[in-house]
């Protein structure tokens, strides 16, 4: 039976997450299952959240509870690439505010906004454990770039535009 939201590949991944927990504790897989779907669509629509809860045979409210709580979940479609600048203490001491302003200038948007072309969303993040590499940037909630200078930022943005992510 095909599900319009959950593809077979996604269901595979979700079931792999479920297999890590006791059979009567499917709720434990919820956090990772939601992430599987978000990684595919970029965000979590109501239909997506419902589909995950239904697949795990959980009351849908369980899924909404965690989606509203954990900061990596998105309820709005972001740009193709999400650029997060760390603004916690170690990065702050290493001029993360300047880096944020530089990102705003280069992308022509303010924090929290998405470029009109839909390519980039700019946000700040709390500490990502890259403190000895401050200031740091997290791309798409997964790729770390440390000791980011103006030149390096250009390379990162250029790399994303041409789909060639530079190695850190």
């Amino acid at each position: 039976m095909s599900n319009p939201i959950l593809t077979a590949a996604m269901i595979n991944k979700i079931d792999h997450c479920s297999s890590k927990f006791p059979v009567d504790q499917k709720r434990s897989a919820l956090l990772m299952a939601l992430r599987v779907v978000q990684d595919e669509y970029g965000w979590l629509s109501e239909q997506a959240i419902d589909a995950v809860a239904d697949h795990l045979s959980l009351p849908r409210i369980y899924a909404y509870e965690v989606v509203e709580f954990y900061s990596l979940y998105r309820r709005k479609k972001p740009g193709k690439h999400v650029i997060k600048v760390c603004n916690s203490i170690s990065c702050y001491l290493c001029a993360s505010q300047d880096l944020i302003h530089l990102c705003e200038k280069k992308l022509g948007i303010k924090l929290g906004e998405t470029t009109p072309c839909g390519r980039f969303t700019l946000e700040e993040t709390e500490c990502i454990a890259a403190c000895a590499g401050a200031p740091a940037i997290l791309v798409n909630d997964a790729v770390y770039h440390e000791e980011v200078t103006a030149t390096k930022l250009d390379q990162i943005l250029h790399g994303l535009t041409t789909n060639e992510v530079p190695n850190d």
Binding site: S28, L34, Y62, F69, S88, E126, A129, A130, A132, A134
Partner: protein
């Protein structure tokens, strides 16, 4: 940026530090193999960990062997071990590199701890942003399973220890051990009221021990070299090694695994001293939740648990955040409170309401629209959070506030009276 070390970072001295072959070449998995083959009594291992002086490296510094000894001995229920790899204390960047650069040693540490407490299932909870560390841990687990180190019938002993990596979804409070259990159960990460403690009722209501990544990754070396080697690593009773992450206003921020007890000045030399030839102003010695100490205190301190405690702070996670003379303390405290305001889980009223209240008071101060009375209210608000919440987040919010005001109250009062910072070159309101 990161240096090889004697315990958790020992494979970093070799190319492909995360490979199974690298770890095997330095005697990897021999400790757990010996334990299982010789059927070493669990108590012997726990006693060795107690004797080593190892304490929780995630910040709370609770004696690790003692914590393990709280687990019930009966075999009639499933027991769990949880590895806390939700590294998120601002200033802290150490577990990330254990996970990505020395994953097999962590796995061996998990096996040793699980064996000692009688746990048959281990969850390693990594924060959601740790993509590379997660992939590396998954790969390492797959290799360890293939070798028969993890899973059913490990080392042909008939014993089962399953290990699973789990990924979070963005939340600082998950690092609190009972919040992590809630999160593992697929719920909001609300810390639990204690008692019952996790050793009695933890994951799914079963006996559970939760330890930090660095703590667990230290075990293979501690058992291999012996508890007294570890405990007296630097000098008698110094308590072993610690990963220090030195960040902020230093020439070369760095992550180093060093003997506990080394002088702070030596640590500072290793990172090239203060940037731009500036003078040291203050240090947050153990992650953003620990109390700040002024330069004159830090320059005479040894980096160990007792010395920092005597000075009124703590080693915490080993995140040493260095502030030079250009810092405006009002601005720095505001940055810290911005973090706590964002991360308060909202379960307890004093923290949920008090943390944003402190933040707003500081913003008004930075905007030049405040008063000395408002500055004085900061410690009162902090005092109404500290000790009045379910978890230690309340202390984590209060300690920076009270310690900043203890050591730098003149800057806060000046700002209130003049509407701008007393630190030269800092922006006006």
């Amino acid at each position: 940026m990161i240096e090889p070390g004697p315990v958790c970072y020992r494979t970093l001295a070799y190319p492909n530090s995360h490979h199974l072959s690298t770890y095997q070449a330095i005697g990897g998995y021999e400790v757990i193999k010996d334990i299982i083959t010789n059927q070493t009594p669990a108590d012997t291992i726990i006693e060795a960990i107690k004797a080593s002086g190892l304490v929780g490296r995630g910040g709370a510094a609770f004696p690790s062997g003692l914590k393990m000894s709280f687990m019930p001995k009966s075999a009639d229920t499933i027991k769990y071990l949880v590895c806390n790899s939700d590294e998120g204390e601002p200033g802290t960047s150490k577990d990330r590199f254990i996970l990505s650069e020395n994953p097999h040693q962590l796995i061996e540490g998990l096996l040793i701890a699980a064996y000692a407490i009688g746990a048959s299932v281990v969850y390693n909870y990594l924060r959601g942003e740790f993509d590379v560390p997660y992939q590396r841990m998954e790969k390492a687990l797959e290799e360890a399973r293939e070798q028969g180190y993890v899973g059913q019938n490990i080392f042909n002993s008939g014993l089962t220890i399953d290990i699973y990596n789990v990924s979070g979804a963005g939340s600082y409070i998950v690092g609190e051990e009972t919040a992590m259990l809630e999160s593992l159960e697929g719920k909001r990460a609300y810390p639990r009221a204690k008692p019952p403690f996790p050793a009695m009722s933890g994951l799914y209501g079963c006996p559970t021990t939760i330890n930090n990544t660095e703590t667990l990754a230290s075990l293979p070396v501690i058992i291999q070299q012996g508890p007294s080697w570890y405990k007296n690593y630097h000098s008698e009773n110094s308590g072993g090694t610690k990963i220090f992450c030195v960040s902020g206003h230093v020439m070369r921020p760095k992550i180093m695994e060093l003997p506990l007890g080394i002088p702070f000045t030596e640590l500072l030399d290793k990172v090239g001293g203060i940037r731009d030839g500036n003078r040291l102003k203050a240090v947050i010695p153990g992650g953003s939740s620990m109390k700040i100490l002024p330069a004159e205190v830090m320059l005479n301190i040894h980096m160990d648990y007792a010395s920092l405690k005597a000075a009124g702070s703590a080693i915490g996670t080993g995140a040493v955040i260095v502030l030079d003379e250009t810092c405006c303390m009002v601005e720095i405290l505001t940055c810290l409170m911005n973090f706590y305001k964002h991360e308060s889980c909202g379960q307890c009223t004093p923290c949920r309401e008090g943390t944003p209240w402190i933040y707003r008071t500081l913003i008004e101060l930075l905007n030049g629209k405040s008063s000395v009375a408002a500055v004085e209210s900061l410690c009162r608000i902090a005092g109404n959070i500290e000790g009045k919440t379910i978890c230690a987040f309340g202390e984590a919010v209060a300690w920076p506030v009270t310690s900043f005001l203890q050591h730098f109250s003149d800057e806060f009062i000046y700002f209130a009276e003049h509407g701008h910072s007393m630190v030269k070159g800092r922006k006006k309101s």
